[in-house]
């Protein structure tokens, strides 16, 4: 049985029977599938936090170096693009990056719910990112912040029109940023759903076997990548082939 590809993005306000039957009425307390996905992302974050702060390893392993390198790459990008004074804003940049990354990856799990496919979530992130940027700019630069809307080396006759266009483009950046993520997520997940339905209908096979194949494939890919980074070859045990993962791209 094949469902509509857009059915997976629907929000069910009370997906759990426990919360429906509780004393808190369903009109005031919503626990939707979206909230459940957020809770799963929180578990992922707490796992990361435990791994970095609470685990008993004294000396760093692969994961520490990997995360540290991700942090340092973000820091160097921020410094090179904005300047040295922007180091204090590393927190919000990294938070945005990891927030979207974790939610997108969680959306790929079968029977999961893609949170970033909801327009309000992406709209919220875009609106507050651009709003915060504007406030910070006004705080730092004051009246000079308006120079952003005045393009250079332009004849004075054209300036009013161009500044209006600049202002509109600056405001519409919130919309464009949010709709880009939203549309990508919806299109990608709908496409996956359609391909899955086509696979099921053409080969007329069980859904569980397809799921097992997908899980097997992804575990192989993850294992190969992990061993390639860790050992220099794709295989963890047995005969070690002299084929490095990086040698393929030389």
């Amino acid at each position: 049985m094949i469902f509509s590809p857009l059915e997976q993005f629907e929000i069910f306000p009370n997906s759990f029977y426990i919360f429906q039957s509780s004393l808190v009425t369903k009109d005031f307390f919503l626990f939707s599938n979206l909230d459940f996905s957020f809770l799963v992302s929180l578990i992922e974050l707490l796992n990361l936090k435990w791994f970095l702060l609470e685990s008993k390893f004294v000396f760093p392993n692969f994961s520490y170096f990997f995360l540290e390198s991700v942090f340092l790459v973000a820091l160097s990008m921020l410094v090179s693009m904005v300047g040295k004074n922007a180091q204090a804003n590393l927190g919000i940049v990294l938070t945005l990056f990891f927030f979207i990354l974790i939610l997108n990856v969680l959306g790929l799990i079968p029977f999961g719910f893609c949170v970033t496919s909801q327009i309000i979530v992406t709209q919220f992130l875009g609106f507050f990112a651009i709003g915060g940027l504007t406030l910070k700019g006004i705080q730092n630069l004051g009246f000079n912040f308006l120079n952003l809307f005045v393009p250079r080396n332009v004849p004075i006759v054209m300036l009013p029109f161009l500044s209006v266009i600049e202002i509109i483009s600056f405001i519409s950046r919130t919309l464009s940023l949010s709709i880009r993520l939203f549309a990508n997520m919806v299109a990608g997940h709908a496409l996956l759903h359609i391909l899955m339905g086509a696979l099921l209908s053409i080969f007329s096979i069980n859904f569980a076997s397809v799921l097992l194949l997908i899980v097997f494939f992804f575990t192989c890919v993850i294992d190969f990548c992990y061993n390639a980074f860790r050992n220099g070859n794709c295989f963890s045990s047995g005969i070690r082939f002299r084929c490095s993962f990086f040698d393929l791209f030389k």
Binding site: F9, E10, I11, F12, P13, L30, S32, L34, D35, F38, S41, L42, L45, K49, L52, L53, F57, V58, F59, P60, Y64, L67, E68, F71, L72, L75, L90, G91, I92, L94, T95, F98, F99, Q118, I119, I120, V121, F124, L125
Partner: protein, 78 residues
Amino acid sequence: MPQLDFFIFFDEAFTTFIFFFYFYYVFSFFFIPLLFKAKFYLNFINKTLFLKNFFNASFSVSGNKIISETKYINKSLK
């Protein structure tokens, strides 16, 4: 479409705000201070070995904290 319901819309925005704020709290107060200590593992060494070294140094005859600390780390490395 349930997404057009204002109450659900508000609920989604509110949950996004709460979870984003918690992410920001964890990153800015736990992870990035670790980064600005330059190395993650220094924190673990300090956590686990600092008190022992401090007491060893204070009760030892030489009383040189740095030397005892380096000795301890070298021992643990072996």
